[in-house]
Amino acid sequence: MKPAAGRRLKPGLRPGLSPRWRLWLLQVLAPLLAILFGALVASVIILFIGKDPLAVYGLMLRFSLTRPDSIASILFKATPLIFAGLAVAMSFRAALWNIGVEGQYYVGALCAALVAFGVKGLPVVVHLPLTLLAAVAGGMAWALLPIVLKLRRGAHEVITTIMMNHIAAAVLLYLLADVLRDPAQAGTPRVRTPVFEPTALVPSLRPLLDAVGFRIPGYSSLNWLLPAGLLLAGLLYLFLTRTRFGYEVRAVALNPDAAEAAGIRIARVQFLMFLLSGGIAGLVGLNDVLGFFGYLDIDFPKGLGFLGISVALLAKNNPLGVILAALLIGFLDRGAQGVQVFAGVPREVITILQAVIILAIVVAYELLTRYVRVLRKREAERAAPPAAPSGTLAAAAPGGPGPGGGG
């Protein structure tokens, strides 16, 4: 089901494998098993409503993967999820909980909109980057307060970011309805900004796709934010694995005490990673706002920040994994439309499937992490009597302290 990873399923778990390989195999198997488990649970529901699960899944696969319009739709849907997943993953990597990606991308979209319709007469090469920069700045600004309060005053970021989400929604509603509303729409039920300048819009990917011979339907809004997201994921992967700062981030997440003893300034690392998270979050809404609508409407797509949490969890905070996870969610979303229209199965079944997959994966990773801990302990005991520091698996989910703790 997961497009790229399916091929790796073949080699069985043989008892003779070395621990290193067994671990690698388990890492790959965990998400696949979670998807399988989710599919099983959804099968029960599908049987319950009197349909054939295999037929439904078959239809879902065929509908999502064999039609060019489906492929385009999956890619379009996955684009903001890549940004959202990366944003969440960057905070999780630094043992911080940015539940506030939702609010940060509202503010990012708002700032981008201000520049997109408010600034006139610039060439594309200046206006578009300026608009993107405004979005990043907006997302960062909204992330600033929670991280400062966390590091300076010990305020738990889970609660403060949730609160900031609600405040962002209220600010957006107020500004769109009372301040920025397009005067031309007065008297209509539409609450939206004036139409953006064309120089601020993200260009379509169509010319490029036409050139390579991949035809997407005329209404598809697939745009350059998709390659931008892929590039960002690649850069973040290199940044985390190949740079000194990336090493410091890993040290902070793995063992804060040891990191501090080694001279790493934890607060600085966490501050920068949280702002990075917020900055990326600022870009989440642009796929729809700059790539599709061309104005900011009060009904622009919401909830992408929370989906970003799912994406990051599925990907285990690995930037490259985020791409696969975002595609999976995009695939499920498109498949849900397919089964609803052609099999009469409510698309909510797929929403439930998605939630069960996430639940299963979280449990699977947790059990895996514990298994690794046991393995390490056993290895350490065999090698030398004095116990090694009890580290968890490198990219394990962060264990944040309780509210009010730290600081």
């Binding site: 609160m163 405040i167 409510p346 909510e348 439930i352 979280v362 264990g399 009010g404």
Partner: protein
């Protein structure tokens, strides 16, 4: 002058009380969960389940059945949180976030199965309202003396009972011990897992009841999104109330008052959105220690693993 008077009118007060109850019930639940050391971000999802099953139960068997159905649904749903967060030791925040997602999909799906549409149930009749015998005959007092939902006195009674349980009973003492120092509690023979499960299940029951109040008493039916983030506001009220039931009552009442005010703020020249976010702003200030020091249970949010100690 008229504006000022409207800020304290009895009608406003009655509306504030009505808006206080759902937040209060869920906040009371949050107190029990976190006193035992388990953060329950999933309260919003549990409340959604409560609104849905409250409406379904009432539709088929009247408000009492509805209330019980909502409580049962809350307990079952929170048991999933317990299983994940306590037994499997999955991170509590993650477990809660995922439960919230699951609840939205589940409520929509079940609503389609039962009523054919995704977002709302048919209208229902709530509890017979109470009224206070003598006071209801005085016209000026009518807004607060008549048309009282029986769940309002029930909620207040639960606050008093909850406080008593936490402070005076062995169970309350053990629950708090488990939230402050599970290892110490374990050494003196307290069953940490059982206590934590009970805390979480109580929070589920109360959050389910909070949802039932919304759909049975306020909405007269289930409507998607009718919780409007009140599960999160309840967490805020719990924090503002310093993890105590009576404190949660005070905070919920304040938030309920803001909420009621925002509905009739036309006279005030303040954007109503500003009043809507006051609880959120207050919560941030409290957490940052600007209002007074927030003091959560010491082991709040930390999973307890018996075999890894010592």
């Amino acid at each position: 002058m008229e504006t000022l008077a409207s800020l304290f009118s009895l009608a406003l007060l009655a509306s504030a009380v009505r808006l206080t109850v759902p937040v209060l019930l869920a906040a009371l639940g949050a107190v029990f969960s976190e006193r035992g050391g388990v953060i329950n971000i999933g309260l919003e999802g549990i409340m959604i389940m409560g609104t849905f099953f409250g409406a379904v139960g009432t539709y088929y068997g009247g408000p009492v059945v509805g209330l019980l159905a909502a409580v049962a649904a809350g307990v079952v749903f929170s048991a999933v949180h317990g299983l994940l967060a306590i037994t499997l030791r999955v991170d509590q925040i993650i477990s809660g976030v995922v439960l919230n997602m699951l609840a939205v999909g589940l409520a929509r799906f079940l609503n389609i199965m039962l009523f054919g549409v995704a977002t709302q149930s048919p209208g229902i009749r709530g509890f017979t309202p109470l009224s206070i015998p003598v006071l209801r005959d005085i016209p000026a007092l009518k807004p607060i003396a008549a048309g009282i939902s029986p769940l309002i006195p029930l909620a207040l009674a639960l606050v008093v009972a909850g406080h008593w349980v936490l402070v005076r009973t062995t169970f309350g003492l053990r629950l708090r011990a488990v939230g402050e120092n599970p290892l110490a509690a374990d050494t003196v023979g307290v069953n940490v897992f059982l206590m934590r499960y009970l805390g979480v299940l109580i929070s589920g029951a109360l959050a389910g009841m909070a949802g039932a109040y919304l759909s049975i008493e306020q909405g007269r039916g289930y409507l998607e999104g009718m919780t409007q983030g009140r599960g999160f506001i309840a967490l805020a009220a719990m924090i503002f109330g310093n993890w105590w039931p009576v404190g949660a009552l005070g905070a919920s009442a304040l938030f309920g008052y803001f909420d009621a005010l925002s509905l009739r703020v036309v006279a005030l020249n303040v954007p109503y959105q500003f009043l809507n976010v006051l609880p959120h702003i207050v919560t941030i200030l409290v957490l940052a220690g600007f209002v007074r020091r927030a003091r959560p249970p010491a082991a709040d949010g930390i999973p307890y693993a018996k075999e890894e100690q010592g």
